[in-house]
């Protein structure tokens, strides 16, 4: 699993690539949290899921977990570019009510 972060103009961009499951999430959870802590003054964070070729409910837990952490720092969170299956999972679990989906070109990364 690849996790690329970039900070610019108050926005923490987090790009995920690969398959998110119970095994791979351990590493990206730690790295995402490190990036959030290093940019605790950010205004917002965007999770780019365009490179995620697979995710199951572990992805829900990962995103909600990061959302809770970001909220403690007062940082708003957004999701961009999920594939149709991920979109189905995120819609049915209500994730978008906490972390809205936006259309954002990935030029931040």
């Amino acid at each position: 699993m690849k996790l690329i972060t970039r900070f610019s103009d108050g926005t923490l961009a987090v790009k995920l690539e690969g398959e998110i499951d119970e095994h791979s999430v351990i590493d990206i959870r730690r790295r995402a949290d490190e990036a959030i802590e290093a940019h605790a003054f950010a205004d917002r964070a965007i999770f780019y899921l365009g490179g995620v070729s697979f995710m199951d409910s572990t992805g829900i837990g990962f995103l909600i977990g990061r959302y809770k952490k970001l909220r403690r720092f007062g940082i708003r969170a957004y999701i961009s570019g999920p594939d149709p299956t991920a979109d189905k999972i995120l819609t049915m679990s209500g994730v978008y009510t906490l972390i809205p989906k936006i259309n954002d070109e990935e030029d931040r990364l």
Binding site: H23, S57, F62, P84
Partner: protein, 160 residues
């Protein structure tokens, strides 16, 4: 012709990708669409992950096993089938772990016994949504079996 396979895996996280990819590969002769294949992989991943994180939470991983059985049945045989493909896949995912206290409760959306570990309680709901047939049998201290089936090759879509 019907086709059958059975695999037995150590209940460790690094086997999750192998398990879902193998089931997807086994379903390929039915000509699934990419969307169907993706649904199948997600449902299998949910069932296998549950064995690892719930069933064997307090057992040594090396001796804990997940058994996956699959059976495919094409709708049409021989020349009739042509390139159309299509058929049904039956999947059974079994563990010999702790079992589930109250299956009815476990099946409810957002019900989880592992909220502190970032589980969302959506696994069973996803399996039910992504598959056509779904059933759980569980006995405390004996283990849990998830039965799922899906009709493949019915919908329009991009072939995998």
């Amino acid at each position: 012709m019907k086709n059958y396979m059975r695999m037995e895996l150590s209940a460790i996280g690094s086997n999750e990708g192998f398990a879902r990819s193998t089931v997807a590969a086994f379903a390929l002769p039915l000509n699934p669409s990419l969307a169907e294949l993706s649904d199948l992989k997600t449902a299998v991943s949910e069932a296998v992950t549950n064995c690892i994180v719930h069933a064997y939470a307090s057992s040594p991983a090396e001796s804990s096993l997940v058994v996956i059985e699959c059976e495919t049945e094409p709708f049409l045989e021989g020349e009739d089938a042509g390139n159309e493909g299509g058929g049904i896949i039956h999947i059974r995912v079994r563990d010999y772990g702790c079992g589930i206290d109250d299956v009815g409760k476990a099946l409810q959306p957002f019900y989880t016994t592992k909220e502190d570990e970032e589980r969302s309680g959506m696994g069973f709901t996803i399996m039910q949504t992504f598959m056509d047939g779904f059933k759980v049998e569980s006995e405390k201290g004996v283990g849990t079996t998830v039965f799922m089936s899906k009709k493949i090759g019915l919908k329009d879509g991009v072939d995998a």
